[in-house]
Assembly symmetry: D3
Homo-oligomer: 135 residues x 6
């Protein structure tokens, strides 16, 4: 169950309808996943969120689409967002992530978490060599 | 300041010396950053940590080296590990991450954090379409 | 499922009964939500937790009740506590949070998460102007 | 030290200059804090971030300005963003947060963190009464 | 539902079979919990994860087995890993954790979270007395 | 720098003085660390925080004092509270934590973080065997 009612007919609202139409056209699918249905309870929030997701994740940019999905999954795991891990793993799979790539991604995320906790436990001081100003 | 004393002469210990030699040979540099110096307070922990970092991050695997560093940075940001953000940003830079790639990485990490918090705030229910068993 | 059995008849214990009576009287409702039922497995932990929640959240203080619930929701989202997001969203609704206020709260939480990740990714140094000692 | 060089003369870039001018005009101050100076390394990221911060935090909306800052602080504490805690505490102070309000905010954030950890440790099941669909 | 299909017959793979046999022999039980079944989608990841869990958690070391499980639970709560909280609470119970010990563990975790948020909200500066180099 | 001014003479306030006296008497030391000095900006918050820390961490309870400090460190690492990691590592050292115990604690915390991220990445479903109601 969600903290807002998932509307039965969200596209009765013209602003929601426009966003959903754009999601379908951009992603070339009729499937609108529940994040967008939940956000439909507030059309301005829905519009702004989709605009930014579209600009970065559904538009060609410098990084390739699969790399972007893997970074997204990594953050979602660390932030313990169950919904986001599921939705972006499905997206990465659709963009070509194989079992072996998935396993390696998880291994790197887990290794990073491990050394994050070691470094935070040791409170390791910064090395001068990391200073961006000295590059 | 760290929670363990950074040893003045860590390589007096033969096990530490062997790990540091391997770090230098693997990375083709004389620079040993402070995480390894701090871990030298316990040679077995140092050995195990380096073995796993080497196997995944300093050995050719399925994902390319820069993608792996960017995933590592993403997790480190979400886990608020200041040291790790610095060390892996420096590593990513050394492997070719440009200003524009860095900016895009940060933009994706920030977008993921934003939708992570939206989805956790809305408690969005999972879509059946995400079910891996149904692929 | 919980990590402790939810007791079938928690109020058989006199200390639990006293806390539950106070929850009902304070909140003017017969409804005791599951957090309290689960905490009933250890009456002292139940008593201390309720005493502190009551003092801050069920007693008039400096901040108004709805602001307090919104701050509570914000923390619960960032800490990925699904139960707490649900329970405090329900409480905020009961205290007058409208759809538009809920949407704005989520937008601010998401914006904060976004700039938190940007600032942690950039490792932005503190400005001297923020120094409380200089106010 | 930051992970990007803080530019000596960021306003040599016309896009950066335009954003900084807008920050000064909007906030009615000459002070540009380091987050914006750091973001100046990528003008598009700077523009998008400021546009969203301005729309939500520097424009009248439904919630009052001080409530918004307190929610922002709460998220920043939970996400362990040191820079953001400092900058938004300074902003909340400038908008009228007294010592007593600050103390109460911290007390609520700490109480929420405490029950977040209790609920996640107990894995408390959701109550049907929280269902938004049943409101 | 998981992000990988839980294989119907994971032990058809000889490497998976060897790990599962070792889990059964080490733990003296036929029960293989779902984490290992899910990891079976990538035998090398399964092997490395089990090797490290076995070395630290299923082998006598300096700290006693129950203390290790309680530390594990504490981290899992703070990282909001629902599965891990359940599995390690069950393990701690099997190793002798009573209701009263469980309640005290949760009380300490909650107290730590509370002062973590207070200290991060106050941005308390380090005391020189904590310096490990001065011990 | 902190988000509140550290008062030059906090014990001029009688309530602060009483708490500081109790800290000194309880801990048998003249040293008052900065968390308490910072909390002195709001005597009620100082009183409540110290009362709860004293009851759980400075009073004999079921768990031994060193185990309690190690659990506290584990949570503080996962929550990225730099101050708390330092203060509780110093406390654990004072209560007898050796280098080897410290290293093992960090290894367990890091292992837990690693499997937390694996389980959250795989979204492993709960095993029925973990059900507390079935014990």
């Amino acid at each position: 169950m969600a903290t807002v009612p998932l509307p039965a007919n969200p596209e009765a609202d013209a602003r929601v309808r426009a966003v959903f139409d754009d999601i379908r056209a951009t992603r070339k699918t009729d499937f609108i996943n529940n994040l967008w249905r939940a956000l439909a309870f507030d059309p301005p929030l829905l519009e702004r969120t989709w605009a930014d997701v579209k600009a970065l994740m559904a538009t060609p940019t410098l990084l390739d689409p699969l790399t972007k999905e893997m970074v997204y999954i990594a953050v979602s795991i660390a932030n313990a967002c169950s919904y986001c891990v599921h939705s972006h793993t499905a997206a990465a799979r659709a963009k070509g992530m194989s079992d072996a790539m998935h396993a390696e991604l998880l291994a790197i995320v887990a290794l990073a978490a491990r050394t994050n906790h070691l470094a935070n436990g040791l409170q390791v001081p910064l090395d001068g060599a990391f200073d961006a100003a000295a590059r």
